[in-house]
């Protein structure tokens, strides 16, 4: 049950990030700080659910759930339970880092950018009450804008196609 839920949420987050990186000005601005072709993996150690993304230079591309173990930036949950805590919004990403539940393999500055994109996505697609648990600080965003962006993300998410890494 936990494994299936985490695997589903990895797909949702991966596709959601890819859509948000094209339509949300804040996310687009954040991604300007990442190098083109950077690959990013979120996965559960050792063989748990995984999600792979790549920065194309202008936006994030969802690459699917393959785990080659060779991404430039890897965010690794040490146990399935830790990913469950995060994806059920009981714990935000910085707290998971602080409690040593996540191992970061890669450049720290890239991880901070990715974390901001994750936080932005959570703030956009979750109801405020849930989002406040998922992020360290809920951003200032007009309700109309939040609903508009959330609607586009949810609508385009299923259409977000997997692509091969460049």
């Amino acid at each position: 049950m936990q494994r299936a839920y985490v695997a589903l949420m990895m797909r949702v987050v991966g596709r959601g990030l890819a859509v948000a990186s094209r339509i949300d000005r804040e996310s687009i601005h954040e991604l300007e700080h990442l190098p083109a072709a950077l690959t990013i993996a979120m996965r559960v150690y050792p063989n748990g659910p995984c999600c792979l993304l790549q920065h194309t230079g202008s936006h994030l591309q969802y690459l699917g759930v393959r785990d080659s173990g060779a991404a430039d930036l890897q965010i690794i949950f040490k146990h399935l339970q830790h990913a469950w805590l995060l994806y059920t919004f009981q714990e935000n990403t910085p707290t998971a880092f602080a409690r040593n539940r996540i191992v970061l393999d890669g450049e720290v500055s890239h991880a901070t950018v990715f974390n901001r994109c994750m936080s932005r996505l959570m703030a956009l697609i979750l109801p405020r009450l849930l989002a406040e648990r998922a992020v360290k600080r809920y951003p200032v965003i007009a309700l109309r804008e939040k609903l508009r962006l959330a609607a586009i993300i949810y609508l385009r998410m299923p259409l977000e196609r997997r692509r091969a890494a460049a």
């Binding site: 602080a98 409690r99 040593n100 191992v103 970061l104 450049e107 901070t112 600080r137």
Partner: protein, 395 residues
């Protein structure tokens, strides 16, 4: 408050006290090392501090290896790669770092290249990139501040990108750290004060940021009390060996604390301020600490209040109502900065430093929000928050 789960790690053997250096040859022999390379900087060598190390080896009948003494105050990837080449050419098997934060961080970075292989440090930027135990590294701190002798982190300037890169791995920890008061006796008052404020910031951030845990709290608390007690004595009597030892021990304890609980926004901005304006790291910490504590205030009020007995003494804490203790802790830090300024001239504002322009704030803010330390700060900060903290620290 329990954090639910935490990890604590410090495998460094610490040799502390009078004549600690004399134990060094035996420590290296125990690790099967016969050809250590000594890394230091010109100032440390000219102050005769390397002679203490050489004498310790002479007395044991062992000749010391090559000495590289050209490490600059703000070390870079170029310097690290040059030293690594020399280490290999001269067949060295271990490293002895004698110096402050820059020398110790350089030695850790050199150890990455000579142990993991490769010519370029850039391949190892980030966390958990190291795959094996490194060669034995002995860290002999000549300033009481960075705590680098017991940390898993090295910060090195990328010569080409003009920014500071962090390397983090438990393998980066030195095998041995030496705390010998002879090594800090000649540090001038300004540097003594700046490095002590660096150590104080390590301890305060370790105690107030989100990765705090009971063990790091114990080290951080002990470090704060020692710094606040010993620093005024050292500034008044620079030759006081026991107070110097207390300060050096406190810096190491603060290093153990923050290595296990990480630091926060003071360091995130401080790294960026230092890289942009070439300001001494300890000075950056001293400049920013009260303003970041005010920024974090609502989230850290209880923890900050608990520090008052350590910062201002038990009597002051007892006489202060609980709801005012957090503000009183910040006031105590400000009082300490004022007292230090009177003796050493350590700047209390960015404008007083004479090295910062307001036009640099945007760049500092950009770098700060990408700094990994921000992740562990109790309150998130974006570019405008960082800029407003810099504005408040201006004068």
């Amino acid at each position: 408050m329990s954090s639910g789960y935490y990890e604590f790690y410090c495998p460094v053997k610490i040799l502390a006290g009078l004549k600690a250096l004399e134990h060094l040859p035996a420590e290296l022999a125990e690790r099967g090392c016969a050809a250590p390379m000594v890394l230091t900087d010109k100032g440390v060598r000219e102050a005769g501090l390397v002679r203490h190390v050489e004498r310790a080896f002479d007395e044991a009948g062992i000749s010391i290896g090559p000495v590289f003494d050209k490490i600059p105050p703000d070390s870079s990837t170029d310097v690290v790669e040059t030293i690594a080449r020399q280490f290999r050419e001269q067949g060295c098997d271990s490293l002895i770092a004698v110096g402050g934060g820059s020398v110790l961080d350089t030695a850790k970075a050199v150890n990455i290249l000579v142990s993991e292989g490769g010519e370029f440090l850039r391949a190892y930027v980030g966390a958990h990139k190291l795959t094996r135990p490194l060669k034995p590294l002995v860290a002999i701190a000549t300033t009481a501040g960075t705590g680098s002798e017991v940390t898993t982190v090295a910060v090195i300037k990328d010569t080409h990108k003009q920014r500071k890169d962090a390397f983090q791995s438990s393998h980066l920890m030195p095998a041995v750290a030496v705390i010998d008061p002879r090594m800090t006796l000649t540090v001038p008052p300004l540097i003594t004060a700046a490095t002590a404020m660096d150590a104080l910031t390590h301890a305060v951030e370790a105690f107030t940021c989100i990765a705090k845990n009971p063990l790091s709290d114990a080290y951080a608390s002990a470090a704060i009390r020692k710094i606040v007690t010993a620093l005024p004595i050292v500034l008044a009597e620079p030759g006081n060996t026991h107070a110097r030892l207390d300060l050096a021990e406190a810096a190491t304890m603060a290093g153990i604390a923050f290595s296990n609980s990480m630091v926060g926004l003071v360091h995130a901005i401080g790294h960026s301020l230092g890289a942009t304006c070439h300001l001494h790291h300890g000075t950056c910490m001293s400049l920013l600490l009260p303003y970041v504590l005010e920024y974090n205030f609502d989230a850290i009020q209880d923890n900050l209040g608990a520090l008052l007995p350590l910062l201002a003494g038990d009597d002051v804490a007892m006489a202060t109502p609980p709801e005012e203790r957090a503000r009183a802790s910040i006031a105590a830090i400000r009082d300490l900065r004022d007292a230090i300024f009177d003796v050493t001239g350590l700047p209390r504002s960015l404008s007083e430093s004479g090295k910062v322009e307001k036009s640099q704030f945007a760049k500092i803010a950009d770098l700060s929000v990408d700094d990994g330390a921000l992740m562990f700060n109790p309150v998130d900060a974006d570019r405008s928050d960082v800029t407003s903290i810099l504005e408040r620290a201006w004068s």
